[in-house]
């Protein structure tokens, strides 16, 4: 299963290295989103700094949708999905591979966005361990849930609008928890119980969706 996962992830990342969709299209989009938030919220440093955690994670969520959409549009050309089904690879492995590739791209985008938040919003990145742990758990959760919903909407004519409508409400706990955890770490939120419970919730979300994907991806891919 793990070998299959590495194979699929390697394939997706190789396609990405050659087509450069994430670097040339999604990354600039992420920066544009950050700039737009500044327009919307008035470039008042204080407000942007306070809202930085939430804006960061909203931008990550948008990027996740684009990354997932890309991950399944590469399978729709030339009957690649049929090839994947017939390849004899373990479906759980395919799921882990695709989710892993999405997660790696998200990590790169998060690094870019974090730099953007520091430069454009004047945020101090404090509390490094909590920030990184939040990123890790949230990224895995987003990539796993995104891959599950991605295969659900793959191959449909309206997938561009359907995927966000399906994924965004379900990913609400990720946005909420990741934002609160970051606020605790950055010291911009109100007094709370600390980042612990939020991190736990992120981990639970990630575990639930990874487990669900591993179990159900085969059936979903059969039907897609």
């Amino acid at each position: 299963m793990l070998r299959d996962a590495l194979l699929v992830a390697g394939k997706d990342l190789r396609i990405e290295r050659r087509s450069r969709v994430t670097t040339n299209q999604v990354a600039p989009f992420a920066v544009v989103v950050l700039v737009l938030f500044a327009f919307a919220l008035d470039p008042d440093r204080g407000l942007l700094t306070r809202a930085a955690a939430g804006l960061f994670w909203v931008a990550v969520l948008f990027c996740a949708i684009l990354a997932v959409q890309r991950s399944f549009s590469v399978e729709s050309a030339d009957g690649a999905r049929d090839g994947l089904r017939l390849s004899g690879l373990d479906p759980a492995g395919i799921f882990l591979g695709k989710a892993g590739a999405v997660a790696l791209q998200l990590v790169a985008l998060e690094a870019l966005l974090a730099a953007g938040v520091v430069l454009l919003y004047g945020t101090d990145l404090r509390g490094g361990v909590v920030l990184l742990a939040t990123c890790a758990a949230a990224t895995i959760g987003l990539a796993a849930s995104g891959t599950v919903y991605g295969v659900l909407s793959a191959g449909l004519r309206v997938r561009e609008t359907l995927l966000p409508l399906l994924l965004l409400p379900v990913a609400a706990p990720v946005l909420l928890s990741a934002t609160r955890a970051w606020e605790v770490a950055l010291g911009t939120g109100g007094a709370g119980d600390g980042a612990g419970p939020w991190l736990r919730l992120l981990v639970i979300f990630a575990v639930v969706y990874v487990a669900f994907g591993v179990v159900a991806f085969g059936a979903l891919l059969e039907e897609a």
Binding site: V148, L152, S153, L156, R157, V158, L162, L165, L166, L168, P169, V170, A172, P173, L176, S177, R180, D193, P197, W198, L201, I204, F205, V208, F212, A216, A219, L220, E223, A224
Partner: protein, 234 residues
């Protein structure tokens, strides 16, 4: 069989009508106004019942989805039931938000507030709207059925997660005032209010089953028409 309604549906509809009419009479005239809330308390005769039926409907969707996915009980009828229950659930969830807003404006001073329960209901409504969209957009029937079933189940699995996150986030909505652990319900409210409440729950439950059976029957008839068209080779 003429018409969409079966005898069972008609009986359900009649009972729902009677109990809901009873709710209106008891809720508007018989019961006393509240000490704190005054006349606004009368919302309690519709809002909690509607909200509960929305949750019941989504629960039925998840259960039917599970039964559809399980190979031993796989049957098109479970898929149909899951779909129609989600439709009715979306109606009830929307009504929950509307009635809640109407009450929230004079009581809290705002139409909407980012309270945990409100947020949870809104997110649920969005998830099941997406669910209905997915159902209607996939043309291949068996694919639509299994994709919808999967979504019906994960939508439901997501509820505890959303629940936890929004409750930690913020809570303003009052906790249950009738069902409390250390007191029997009749000590908390006036008995006439309790009767009206019970009747309102019964009424909306009947209404749920009435709408469910009506939509279910409609779905069955649609499939029959489709099958007949296929037979004729249209």
């Amino acid at each position: 069989m003429k018409g969409t309604a079966t005898t069972l549906t008609r009986v359900l509809g009649f009972c729902a009508l009677v109990t809901l009419a009873g709710t209106v009479v008891l809720g508007l005239w018989t019961t006393p106004p509240d000490v704190v809330q005054g006349e606004l308390v009368r919302l309690i005769y519709i809002h909690p019942a509607i909200a509960t039926m929305g949750e019941v409907a989504f629960g039925v969707t998840a259960l039917a989805s599970l039964l559809y996915l399980w190979r031993r009980t796989r049957d098109r009828r479970w898929d149909l039931l899951a779909g129609v229950s989600a439709e009715v659930g979306v109606v009830f969830a929307s009504l929950t938000l509307v009635t809640g807003s109407i009450w929230g404006r004079p009581t809290w001073g705002v139409w909407w507030t980012w309270d945990a329960r409100l947020t949870l209901t809104a997110i649920l409504l969005l998830i099941y709207t997406g669910y209905l969209m997915l159902r209607s957009l996939i043309e291949d029937e068996s694919r639509a059925a299994s994709a919808a079933a999967v979504l019906g189940i994960i939508g439901f699995l997501d509820i505890p997660l959303i629940h936890m996150s929004v409750y930690w986030w913020r809570t303003l909505h009052q906790p249950p005032s009738i069902l409390q652990p250390n007191k029997p319900p009749w000590e908390n409210v006036h008995p006439s209010m309790l009767t009206a409440l019970a009747i309102s729950f019964a009424g909306f439950l009947l209404l749920y089953f009435y709408l469910l059976s009506l939509r279910y029957r409609l779905g069955e008839m649609r499939e029959k028409i489709k099958a007949r068209r296929l037979e004729r080779g249209v």
